[in-house]
């Protein structure tokens, strides 16, 4: 697969956007770092998946996770966010082709659930304790709520004038 200049540019723009949103959200001391988060940066991942394609969205996500941990994280937070992001990405990749555009919010909810499950597993391995799993019901509820919100925003964005930048093959 050849990577075009346009692809690289778009991946860069999306990754930068995602990083900004992620870092702004990380500054809000509302929720615990390893736990509940709004996952606003996932809006960018979802839009990238719809407008650019799955591989490009994966690149956007990888760049964001790596740079975020360079700018404001530690090795441990990298493990947490990477495992969350990886599981979310896998789940969304599997679902996005199977559900139509109007069900993007469903993809988003499953992505959020995947993200929180990934973080739970990371907490299990890092902290070496099953304690992490007692958080699971709380994390699942928050995933449904935040995932739906993120999904609805993404659907609005994908159908907005932004879609002119679309590179995904129909």
């Amino acid at each position: 697969m050849r990577v075009s200049v346009k692809q690289i540019t778009m991946i860069g723009i999306f990754a930068a956007l995602s990083l900004i949103i992620f870092m702004v959200e990380a500054e809000l001391p509302v929720f615990e770092g390893g736990g509940i988060k709004l996952g606003l940066a996932n809006i960018v991942t979802l839009c990238a998946m719809k407008l650019l394609g799955r591989k490009e969205a994966g690149a956007v996500l990888a760049v964001r996770v790596l740079l975020a941990s360079v700018f404001c994280g530690s090795a441990i937070s990298l493990i947490f966010s990477a495992s969350g992001a990886f599981l979310a990405y896998t789940v969304m990749c599997l679902l996005i082709g199977r559900l139509d555009d109007r069900q993007l919010w469903v993809v988003s909810v499953f992505g959020a659930i995947g993200h929180n499950l990934g973080q739970t597993f990371a907490a299990y391995f890092v902290c070496g304790s099953a304690i992490a799993f007692s958080m699971l019901p709380y994390l699942l509820i928050s995933a449904v709520i935040t995932g739906a919100l993120v999904g609805i925003v993404s659907m609005k964005l994908v159908s907005s004038p932004l879609r002119r930048f679309s590179m995904a093959k129909k």
């Binding site: 001391p29 615990e32 390893g34 109007r102 304790s129 007692s134 019901p137 699942l140 449904v144």
Partner: protein, 125 residues
């Protein structure tokens, strides 16, 4: 359009069910245990328990590990981290926890403070 609505309703039902199951699990967790106490884990190992979360007088103590020190405060049925020499201070910002199943995690220090048990039906939201 109608098909979209139908699909949306289906997924809303699925996710609502998931939320209800989670709520049931949370409530069950609170009902099944009688007393509220707290456990402190360092790197996965239980290093200290707090038996009474509602002592007559609030008190604090330091949890020292090779990774750093956290000051834990116990008052009026709640536990909080009042001070820490960790990098991000997320554990301090977390504030008080007072319900079974809640926990404060200090990732830099690999420290988890978790409340177990239930203080009775009046604790249920």
């Amino acid at each position: 359009m109608k098909k979209v609505l139908k699909k949306n309703i289906f997924w809303i039902a699925v996710f609502s069910l998931l939320v209800i199951v989670c709520l049931a699990v949370i409530l069950l967790q609170r009902f099944t245990k009688e007393k509220l106490c707290a456990e402190i884990y360092s790197e996965g190992k239980l290093i200290r328990t707090i038996d009474d979360l509602d002592p007559g007088k609030p008190y604090s103590f330091d949890v020292k590990t090779s990774l750093g020190t956290n000051t834990v405060r116990v008052e009026k049925g709640s536990v909080s981290v009042s001070g820490s020499d960790c990098k991000n201070k997320i554990c301090v910002y977390h504030g008080k926890i007072s319900k079974a199943g809640e926990s404060i995690i200090c990732a830099p220090h690999k420290l988890i403070i978790r409340i177990t048990g239930s203080s009775g039906p009046d604790a249920v939201v």
